[in-house]
Symmetry: C2
Subunit: 321 residues, 2 copies
């Protein structure tokens, strides 16, 4: 599969960096414009030190050790919406620019967040289980769900994804508020400076902010307590935004109303206590995953590479803090 760069191949090198478990080649589409340099390439040892661009596949970590290995790297082209696997501070210190997937995944993640919220509130997956278990003809009564319209939904992180979630929720007649690092100008929704107060004023929280040292376990015991017994959590951000042990305890003890979780602290491990709960919807980190969004992210990556190698502004450069 890996063809060595021959003397006529002047395509710019793109150093592919991947965890061993991501062992499928999905960078063939970079050719022939670019030369994806895989560790399996016979010329890897020769060429890698001169590569100016690093492309970490999915959540493959990029830290100071990685950057030490590839001293010529000037730009890390990310392929995901969240970049918590890339040490942004270290990149900044070294003058290495970083790009994200931009808005390629935003619509799909927003759609999925709404899907999870409707599912938990209206018990869609639970209804599906009920019917498939053959219970409908036997048990006439089925526990009611709860109406989406009029619900106060708190969005944690009103960026590219969060603002799309807000647009969708408005069409359902929800009452929206948000928390984010800063109050957004020209946003009509009430802003809360902290997640605790947002939770106390919300029937549901949708978590879609970036994971950083500041947002690690932003949803903790106090926030869950403030959300209350009927409150619902939807997480389409990163698992570690939520103190998962606490969340499991709150769910097991019926101290919150339910949860729709696409992400977990220790993926692909999901706390087994959740399997038994009817008010929880579990999903294998797939809010981003459609053929359409994958096509869009390839376009963003190619656009960033073209921009980099022609000294134009990058399409989706991550801003320094």
């Amino acid at each position: 599969m890996a063809s060595t760069q021959d003397s006529n191949d002047t395509a710019p090198l793109v150093l592919i960096h991947r965890l061993p478990r991501f062992n499928i080649s999905f960078t063939h589409w970079l050719r022939p414009k670019f030369y994806p340099l895989e560790p399996s390439d016979p010329s890897y040892a020769t060429l890698a030190p001169s590569a100016r661009v690093l492309l970490p596949v999915g959540p493959t970590p990029v830290d100071s050790g990685t950057l030490d290995l590839f001293p010529a790297v000037e730009c890390v082209v990310g392929s995901s919406a969240g970049l918590n696997h890339i040490d942004l501070a270290e990149c900044r210190r070294r003058g290495v620019r970083v790009t994200s997937a931009g808005e390629a995944f935003s619509d799909d993640v927003a759609d999925y967040a709404i899907g999870l919220l409707i599912d938990v509130l209206r018990r869609v997956s639970a209804a599906n289980r009920f019917v498939r278990a053959g219970l409908w003809p036997v048990k006439d009564e089925y526990p009611l769900g709860s109406k989406l319209g009029g619900k106060r939904v708190g969005i944690v992180g009103l960026g590219s994804i969060g603002s799309r979630i807000a647009t969708r929720l408005e069409a359902f007649g929800c009452v929206i508020a948000y928390n984010s690092r800063n109050k957004k100008a020209s946003v009509p929704f009430p802003y809360y400076t902290n997640v605790h107060d947002l939770a106390a004023s919300s029937d549901a929280l949708i978590i879609c902010c970036a994971l950083s040292n500041e947002t690690h376990h932003i949803i903790n015991k106090d926030v869950l307590t403030a959300l209350g017994k009927k409150g619902v959590i939807v997480n389409v951000g990163r698992g570690a935004l939520v103190d998962e042990k606490e969340l499991v305890q709150f769910l097991v003890r019926n101290e919150i109303g339910g949860a729709g979780l696409d992400v977990f602290e220790n993926e692909p491990v999901v706390p087994e206590e959740l399997y038994a709960l009817d008010n929880v919807v579990l999903s294998p980190h797939k809010a981003v995953a459609t053929p359409e969004s994958f096509a869009a992210v390839k376009e963003v990556i190619i656009g960033n590479l073209e921009a980099f190698f022609s000294n134009k502004p990058l399409l989706s450069q991550v801003k320094s803090e």
Copy 2:
């Protein structure tokens, strides 16, 4: 529970009409303004012949035989959105007015339809099964769903529910078209005079029209063929709008893409072939069911009764064809 109407009780009679399986009293909230006359009431035989209003519980049928039994009835106060269980032509012939639940259920049904569509397209329930079966750590690959944005969604029946579905779909960036008895003025979406042509131009069909002789099996073999291999069906209307045997065959043979079904031809029986399919979401006729919508329908019923007994226009009278 049933207290006989005593000589001081001048509350107007409301004759409660119910299938034996709906044996729970949920008309106590009519008191004390009205006197709900149940078959179990000791005065039933004496009072029923003079009752001017009939309240059929849920889908309890009202046909010419029913109306023969209660000759004083001038108004049938329905408690559901669909009125296919009431013989509207026969009521019209006898000058009996009929009311529906009006818009009490419309938002909830629209929400649920969107929930089912996201679920089928993005495989939410299937993902939930996948995780709960412990497969995530084992099988790295998970079949992709499909993006909602840009999908051409055909709405069959653009009434109170269908128009709310359209509002929601617009926020997701869907391309909307519709079929209904007549083209609606002031609706921007393309109108198709027949469902076959709508299906041929759609990626998904959402069925939310009234069930009548004209719409029985409106989704038949030809329509499913026109919808095509990747097409998705969502039915929140009535089971008999779809030729269920054909639908099952199309799903089993992978001749359409998937289905989200809240209603079935022979409820509570669900064709068992569907249990094995991962691209089908099954739900026990609960799109209408939230505490909020039940409160709203009670208000509509009381409003109609008050209007009837004070000779004012009914709130949600069904128009004659």
